[in-house]
């Protein structure tokens, strides 16, 4: 089926089975490799991106539901010299170890800061529940507070 949506600000149309996970469309059809496959069961959060500004686990999101929606991936959050405050904070705090799960964490964090600009540690615990096998949680917590600071929320 033909599905139209906006991705990272650009209009896009794909012709795929409606049940195809959004993650596969993003990675294999649109060649945006920043969003990662982790578990395929909406459990780890590595595939998190934004659909109409909400954090969504794209491995469990049938592409047919994307019709007419605005999708943002880690590439659309910011790149090169134009980094999002979350990406900037991630760099400053040297958060990643292997790095595989980090795009998902950054997308979840960006969604959190849109609604809670200056989150407490409890807010972070309640909202950012992705899984990092390198256990970079401590540095991520610092980076989330730093991103809030960069945004001028503190």
């Amino acid at each position: 089926m033909q599905i139209q949506f906006t991705i990272n600000g650009k209009s896009q149309s794909v012709d795929v089975d409606g049940k195809t996970p959004l993650l596969w469309v993003v990675r294999d059809v649109l060649n945006l490799k920043g969003t990662k496959f982790g578990c395929g069961k909406a459990a780890c959060g590595a595939c998190t991106l934004h659909v109409d500004g909400e954090a969504v686990r794209s491995c469990s999101y049938p592409i047919k539901f994307a019709e007419g929606k605005k999708i943002t991936t880690i590439e659309g959050l910011g790149e090169g010299d134009n980094l999002h405050s979350v990406q900037q904070a991630w760099k400053e705090e040297i958060v990643p170890q292997c790095g595989y799960c980090q795009p998902g964490f950054m997308m979840a964090t960006a969604a959190l800061l849109e609604k809670i600009p200056n989150p407490t540690d409890e807010d972070i615990d309640n909202n950012i529940v992705n899984i990092c096998r390198c256990a970079t949680y401590y540095r991520m917590r610092k980076a989330i507070h730093r991103a809030a600071e960069i945004n001028g929320a503190t």
Binding site: A55, R57, C59, S60, A111, I128, V129
Partner: protein, 204 residues
Amino acid sequence: MRNKYFILIMSLIVGIVLGFTYASSDTHTNDTTTPRNNHTTTQENDPFDKMMQVLTHKRCVNCHPAGDRPRQGEDSHYHNFGVQRGKDNHGVAALRCESCHHEENNEYSGVPGAPEWSLAPLAMQWEGLSRVEIAESMLDRKRNGNRSLEQIVEHLTEHELVLWAWEPGVDSEGNPREAPPVPKDEYIAAVKEWAESGAVIPKE
């Protein structure tokens, strides 16, 4: 000989007493993950009984929890990842029900889905209630969202999220979820019969 008879009779009496004691303690097991007193009414084909076999099933109660944490699975464990109710019963800022659950079951990931997937409001908690208490809660306008009996019947028999219970899909391991023990058409007929006959709640 007389002593043998005496010992035999005494053994029987002791056995009967112990049997009653064990059975009595067994029925008082308190499992807070499922509604208690599930068998207040056992009359065959009683519409209240049929309705309540469904409403006390995990497919309903997991999302009518007592407190701010949904339950999931056949054992009604707390929802993984510390998922919380949130102000609108749809989760918190970056961890919404819609982050994972959509309008239909996902056969690849095993994530269940139906339109309006969310928790029942806290006032409509059923976890830990008896059948009678659930029925009283349903008919109490202060706790049921100010619904009339007609609206309650509509919710129970037509709401897609409620009827999802009979098409619950597969879990993350690909195993089919358990459906309620009463067929959907029999349940719908029972709810309507119970309401049309006065929505009588039996005594505990």
